[in-house]
């Protein structure tokens, strides 16, 4: 795994361990050295002890010898002056001995040797004291014996002390050697410890430093990669990018920005942005607010005003769209501005085209509306013409045929009279047809709001007002009460009377028309049913009969074939529906479905 850049916390930890480990190691090292030194000093102290023991031993011996010497002088001369060394030494002998005992208290062997020597010394001293009392030698063998006995003792003492000192010397030698060896050991240990510590610290520091330097290198590499990545990104980006420093001077610009402004990065480095990014309003050609200044002022992202034109160095002009944003450092200080813009030529063109299209469309809609209005007007004018001019010749035909029948009746035979009547009737038929067509076109145009209509009042009104329904032969049954519906009273009157007329009209001549009227309701709607016992309608014609000029029956029944088409239109204008249930020869049930009041 390649070394990763380390975090600040990690970096501090490494620094701490780099310092702490040597400090701790040096401390340990100092303790070890102190211990070694302590040990060495102890060994040296032992060595000195032996030297002292030897010195005190010699002094003790010398005191005893001094006493013997003094005694001998006195013995030979009898002069008490010779006893002076004896007297001087005598009180010191015990003190020196006591010191020796004390000094050798750590060595029972030597203590025992001293005690042996002291026993001899005490013997000698007893003899010496007696000898002093005897006074000067009187000559003879006694004197020799005395001298010889002391000499023998003295020799033993000296031998004992010599042995003691020799032994102590031996100890001294051993101890000196120990001092030397200890010293050498101390040096060696110190050297080893120091070497080890140096090595460990060195290695540790080296390792940490290596780690740090690797991290540093990794960070540096990352930084370089990032910088390169950023540079490549900014350079390859389709939009033009210019970055300024905190003073608004150009710091960086990418290739697209170079292309559009006509300047190169080298030329503009550290120049004020204003001098190379010159923008004016597309229409007024007045200079536009510098977006970078605006960013410095408002400290937020700003978009450029619409219809901005960039004037490039080489005189080219670019319609542009852009935005500028502040750049903050980690301490939230504004350190520059990044300006991003792009060529908006295509966009402006598209906008213009869109606008033109929208205007075109508006004009077309207006033209179509006018056209439609004109057509509606023409249609109305046409209806008007139909109702006036087309009917005039019909009136004339009827009028003249009537005049012929009335004024010249004596001249006509039955055949001529029949022909005139036929002319008259044909004219009448045509007139009804024209009026029905006009009614249909009128109903088609009608757009009235629906209001509640009481069928229970309207249907009986229709039955009583139309002469057609007064025929005493008719059987009309109304199942009251009929419901209330939403509709137009005039339209409903027209439709219901039309349906009733059909119900009476399309009946076999030898049958008595029987008509039944009722309503049934669902939650939102009401159906008005009108049932007859007429000739019925073949199911395949149920839709056709509601179309213009469709009459599905043979010509034995009069009519224009427009009535049901008008009815359908009128009912649809009331948001309702009309339909039939019928079979040929089984009567017909017409239903008219309308909204219930409260559900409009």
């Amino acid at each position: 795994m390649p070394p990763r850049p380390i975090s600040i916390a990690n970096f501090r930890q490494i620094l701490t361990t780099t310092l702490a480990a040597p400090v701790i190691l040096i401390g340990i090292c100092a303790i070890i050295l102190a211990l070694i030194t302590g040990h060495l000093l102890k060994v040296i102290r032992l060595d000195r002890h032996s030297v002292e023991v030897i010195a005190v031993g010699h002094e003790w011996e010398k005191l005893i010898i001094d006493m013997e010497t003094g005694l001998r002088g006195y013995k030979m001369t009898g002069d008490s002056r010779f006893l002076e060394p004896y007297n001087l030494a005598e009180p010191q002998v015990d003190a020196q001995y006591a010191r020796l005992i004390e000094l050798t208290s750590d060595n029972p062997e030597q203590t025992a040797a001293l005690q042996d020597a002291d026993k001899l010394v005490l013997q000698w001293r007893d003899i010496a004291r007696k000898s002093i009392q005897d006074g000067q030698y009187k000559g003879g063998p006694d004197a020799l014996d005395d001298a010889l006995s002391r000499k023998a003792l003295m020799d033993s003492i000296r031998s004992q002390i010599a042995t003691f000192i020799a032994h102590e010397n031996q100890l001294l030698n051993q101890r000196s050697e120990k001092v030397d060896s200890t010293e050498r050991t101390a040096y060696a240990i110190s050297a080893v410890v120091l070497a080890l510590v140096t090595l460990v610290i060195g290695l540790h520091v080296y390792r940490q430093m290596l780690r740090l330097s690797e991290s540093y290198l990794a960070s540096y590499r990352d930084l370089t990669t990032q910088k390169e990545w950023l540079r490549v990104t900014l350079s390859s980006i389709g939009d033009a990018v210019i970055v300024t420093d905190a003073n608004g001077h150009v710091d960086f610009m990418n290739a697209e920005a170079e292309r559009m402004t006509g300047w190169t990065s080298l030329e503009v480095k550290s120049k004020p942005l204003r001098s190379i990014f010159r923008i004016v309003n597309e229409e007024t050609r007045r200079s536009v607010d510098d977006p970078v200044e605006k960013v410095f002022r408002e400290k937020r992202i700003v978009g450029l005003a619409n219809h901005t034109l960039l004037l490039s160095k080489n005189g080219a002009e670019w319609p542009i769209e852009d935005s500028a944003a502040p750049i903050y450092d980690t301490s939230k200080n504004m350190v520059g501005v990044v300006l991003v813009f792009h060529d908006a030529t295509e966009m402006r063109r598209a906008e213009r085209i869109l606008k033109t299209h929208a205007e075109d469309l508006e004009q077309k809609v207006l033209a179509r509306t006018l056209e439609l209005q004109r057509m509606v007007n023409e249609l109305e004018a046409f209806s008007y013409t139909v109702s006036h001019d087309l009917r005039a010749p019909l009136r004339a035909m009827q009028g003249y045929s009537n005049a012929l029948l009335e004024d010249f009746s004596e001249k006509w035979g039955a055949e001529e009279r029949d022909l005139l009547i036929r002319i008259n009737r044909a004219a009448q038929r045509l007139d009804i047809l024209i009026q029905d067509v006009l009614t249909y076109s009128k109903v088609s145009k009608e757009r009235q709001a629906v209001v509640p209509v009481e069928l229970d009042r309207l249907v009986p009104d229709i039955l009583s007002q139309y002469p057609t329904f007064q025929d005493p032969k008719l059987k009309i049954e109304v199942q009251r009460p009929l419901a209330v519906v939403l509709g137009h009273e005039s339209g409903l009157t027209q439709v219901i009377s039309n349906v009733l007329t059909n119900a009476i009209k399309f009946v076999d001549a030898n049958r008595v028309p029987e008509i039944k009227i009722w309503t049934d309701s669902t939650e939102f709607r009401v159906r008005l049913w009108i049932q007859d016992n007429g000739i019925g309608v073949d199911p395949e014609n149920h839709i056709r009969i509601f179309k213009m000029f469709e009459q599905v029956n043979s010509k034995s029944y009069e009519g224009t074939g427009i009535g049901l088409a008008i009815a359908k239109k009128a009912i649809e204008n009331m948001h309702g529906a009309i339909g039939i249930e019928s079979k040929l020869g089984e009567g017909t049930r017409v239903w008219i479905e309308l909204l219930k009041p409260g559900n409009a």
Partner: protein, 156 residues
């Protein structure tokens, strides 16, 4: 003004209609004078008394105008408006005599000051009936104010 002096001005461009109307008048037994002009402009000229209608003994002022709507030169509504803009003709009754009863026409006719609106019957046998009613109401029973009274009030 006596009954017998009452004159009706018929404004009708269709010769057939005028022919059948005359026949209907005869058959209804109406004795009053019916003057006829074939277009709107001539109707105005007649009422104004300008050439060729300046002689009031031949072309006396009518008490009633039977006015068709669809007329050449000047439309029936133009004639009606012209009449109603002249206070001296306030006593003149105008009855529209049209082929259709289009709602727009009905509304406009009464808004413009028509006194009545009759539809020309298609069935020939109905015409005498309509004419008889017209004669009975307007020509025999309705009381008109004399025109000179309107004129006087205006000039005084």
């Amino acid at each position: 003004m006596s009954e017998s002096e009452r004159v009706v001005l018929v404004v009708e461009d269709n010769a057939d209609d005028w022919f059948l109307l005359q026949r209907g008048i005869k058959r209804a037994g109406i004795t009053q004078t019916f003057q006829h002009v074939p277009d709107g402009q001539q109707a105005i000229d007649y009422l104004q008394g300008v050439n060729p209608f300046s002689d009031r003994t031949v072309y006396p002022l009518p008490v009633l105008v039977l006015l068709d709507l669809k007329l050449p030169v000047k439309h029936g509504f133009e004639v009606l408006s012209w009449i109603r803009q002249r206070p001296q003709l306030n006593g003149l009754a105008v009855v529209i005599f049209s082929s259709s009863k289009a709602e727009a026409d009905l509304v406009r006719a009464y808004n413009s000051g028509a006194n009545a609106f009759l539809v020309k019957p298609t069935a020939a046998e109905k015409l005498p009936e309509v004419l008889h009613a017209l004669d009975l109401f307007w020509l025999r029973n309705n009381e008109f104010a004399p025109f000179n009274l309107f004129t006087k009030r205006l000039t005084s």
